[in-house]
Symmetry: C2
Amino acid sequence: MAELDIAEVSHRAGVPASTLRYYEERGLISSTGRRGLRRQYDPGVLERLALIALGRTAGFSLDEIALMFAPDGQPRIDRQKLAAKADELDNRIRELGVLRDSLRHAAACPAPSHMECPTFRRLLDAAASGGVAVPGRRVPGR
Amino acid sequence: MAELDIAEVSHRAGVPASTLRYYEERGLISSTGRRGLRRQYDPGVLERLALIALGRTAGFSLDEIALMFAPDGQPRIDRQKLAAKADELDNRIRELGVLRDSLRHAAACPAPSHMECPTFRRLLDAAASGGVAVPGRRVPGR
DNA sequence: CATTGACCTCAAGTCGACTTGAAGTAGAAC
DNA sequence: GTTCTACTTCAAGTCGACTTGAGGTCAATG
């Protein structure tokens, strides 16, 4: 079985068929042909989908991911971009670490009200001054 | 000057006026009155905005945050929820850590193509099997 | 040969958190 | 007293990644 049916791909990759069609439309994957109406895929699409999933979890947009494939379909992953994303992740991880520790402290804090807890207030100031970022926040000028 | 003008709040909190109106509409903050048309705010709104910002960076939705204020305006932060969010953050942090390490490895990997690098392939399998989560991904059945 | 059911296309809807635009108003400066 | 300007309301638009729905098609099953 060289060719996979869309249902097969959907099942194996754990991705809805609608998403496969969407990815195709966006140029992220391509079908090798049709059996009747139905899309057929090369088994390699599974690896490609894994790559896409990976990119998504690393925080790349679909557009960015699309650029990571050469026109011939071979992944052309820019090592610099990977390193940059790793650094980005590093920052986010550090932020989240601080946040987590502070949340835990606040959860265990004996102060009658959170507002009277110095740790909580410090956290608050950090958040207010934009020291910590929200992932999906739109930046002014975009 | 007990009362702050919306422009003042916007400036001090680093939040656009449109967002302040939006937060008011959502019941997250309230203005004490108007001078002419313009909203006036109690200085306490700044602390509240900081609290909102904090909640956002911790990954709470505006609806969740709204529930963290008692009707009287006093923050009523559920310590259990904080702890739960901390645990959630902990998981995410661990995932991101793995991802970061793998990205870094891939970036430095000597294999001619990423596909031939065992570390990269392992990472790929993890991503494919949904071992790592994308923050904003919609879960089936929601 | 007719039915079934899973696929197809294309347009439109969803979600959350805002932003933007049009049309109006009022305090303050001239 | 007029103009300026920063605010006001309300509806609609935006962004990314998909999902959903209506109406159509076709390989396989009976």
